[in-house]
Symmetry: C2
Subunit: 337 residues, 2 copies
């Protein structure tokens, strides 16, 4: 079933059919209607390959999933990003081509080269790390790129992340409103930009609320185990805060474990708030109050960036998504001293 078939049945030439189906104004309204009706009746759909060959437009976006067996922190974010990305691009008539690269493969072929070969019009990267060998090439890419949760400067590269500063404020406001004044921070590693942003936000909040003297930072590495050990050390030193703000949920769960082991009750003895809203926090005991990242919206925004670029616009290279507070059972109100 091609436009030629339709042309024959309609008694016109294929050019007229092509024009009609593409809503050209150069064709009589009457014949246009007739042809359109015929086309749907016949269940016609254009051959995308032929169309792409002549228009030189692929109407396709690429998504790179940079997974690494040893790092599982993305958990179900991956699929949620995908959800936002896929619906946004499908709403705009774009196809989505998937690429996954495991760590060992990443050296073999250039991402950008791959995109050119597949005629992808824009790319999204998920799971990018600072040791990726293709960073420079991506930064110089002529085709629009958007990276989720990883900032990279480049003329055509965008950066989508959740607003960590706002997220930390949300968490601390919640603790503050529940009467907490002695709040320690279980931070992430110094090599992680996200960890530093969160830690900085904590510092500023404490300072601006007259709690500068209460600032206390334990540094972990985002694993449950590090949260567990740092908390154990804090317990041993004897000075427990009334609340603990962790830079991610896994460390928060480690802290919960350490405190429970020493006979403390959560949240009656110590309130704990995490960050990321991983599923484990929903199923832990007590349910972990935390900050959620709206991964679906993040995915949609990444696509949005690419489309604006493709339209020739100049979208902001950095776009932060509002996080939200998810209240469960690990924070309790205390009397204000």
């Amino acid at each position: 079933m091609t436009i030629k078939d339709i042309a024959r049945l309609a008694g016109v030439t294929h050019s007229t059919v092509s024009r009609s189906l593409n809503d050209s104004p150069l064709v009589a309204a009457e014949t246009k209607e007739k042809i359109k009706k015929l086309a749907t009746e016949l269940g016609y759909s254009p051959n995308t390959f032929a169309r792409r060959l002549v228009t030189k437009k692929s109407n396709t976006l690429g998504v790179f999933f940079l997974s690494r067996a040893e790092i599982n922190f993305m958990e179900n974010f991956g699929t949620q990003f995908l959800d936002g990305i896929a619906t946004a691009s499908s709403n705009n008539g774009y196809d989505l081509l998937m690429f996954t690269m495991t760590r060992d493969l990443s050296n073999q072929k250039s991402y950008i080269r791959l995109c050119q070969e597949k005629h992808v019009e824009g790319v999204i990267f998920i799971g990018m790390t600072s040791d990726d060998p293709h960073l420079a090439e991506i930064a110089a890419s002529q085709i629009p790129v958007c990276i989720i949760d990883f900032e990279l400067k480049g003329d055509h590269v965008g950066f989508i992340s959740s607003d960590n500063d706002q997220g930390i404020r949300l968490a601390l406001d919640h603790l503050w409103q529940n009467g907490h004044r002695s709040i320690a921070h279980l931070g992430g590693p110094e090599v992680s930009p996200v960890a530093m942003i969160r830690e900085d936000a904590y510092r500023r909040y404490m300072t601006s609320h007259g709690l500068e003297s209460k600032i206390k930072i334990l540094r972990g590495d985002f694993t449950k185990d590090s949260g567990y050990r740092r908390t154990q050390e804090m317990i041993r030193q004897g000075h427990l805060p009334t609340a603990l703000l962790a830079a991610n949920d896994y460390m928060a769960l480690g802290a919960v474990k350490a405190l429970k082991e020493q006979g403390y009750k959560i949240p009656s003895d110590v309130s704990i708030i995490g960050y990321d809203n991983v599923l484990a926090g929903e199923y832990s005991d007590p349910g972990l109050t935390t900050i959620g990242q709206n991964p679906i919206e993040m995915g949609a925004s990444a696509v949005q960036y690419l489309f604006e670029k493709l339209k020739g616009g100049a979208p902001s290279p950095i776009h932060l998504i509002n996080p939200n507070l998810i209240i469960r059972d690990s924070v309790r109100p205390i009397p204000i001293r």
Copy 2:
């Protein structure tokens, strides 16, 4: 950069270039080498659209992600399946086209129709449910289909799942070897085929090991909450087994919570084993011993099925992947009575 450009530079016609690049035996070894070398030097890559237009082969597989906001049980399986799928198809030179359908959209457009329009050669479905409106159409599909974790009969549809029967045996063997003889089963809902298979496997194991009189089944619905409540009821009735085998991890975590609340220690008082190896079980306290599903292998097998179909073979329509036992801290050895 097209074959014509190369032809001009090599002093031959584009046909010769095409033949050389496709390793045709009809071209002199000498010129073939020369042209190949020239092509790589120039960084040539063929225009897939032109090629597909004439060969009528898309070299593309489709993946449908049938996500539903209200059901989050797939957790990070989704991305792991994808990993297996993407690497397997890329190894065979196939592209991967992504489709996601949220529940409300699923009525709008036929999956199979979509596949035809995109010229997809084979499809994989993830997250299929029995109330999907397109099941009949999929069953009748002429293009090869493989569904993960959902069985559907059809000439060209395959079914990939983990071997639930074997998984349950693995779990019960582990309990048996640790001296447990009084083992209750926290099962899933009757409407779930997987739940029934697991329950049946439990029954058979108990019977074949002379523990028929110890068979005890609590029926939940795969949620943490149902595991919690069923376990509470069991505690109230007073007859606690030494071990509990749950049909999934979330119910197992619910059981852990109920038991802890009543002052029981896990695993010293009751051993618990889950199923699925969700991340939450890794971060729970105690770490949950469970059965893992090898989602990456499942994804790869789905692709494998499609390729065999495409080659004209007749692969088995049902393929079960071996699960594996993941030992953490929720099972302890007890003296055999």
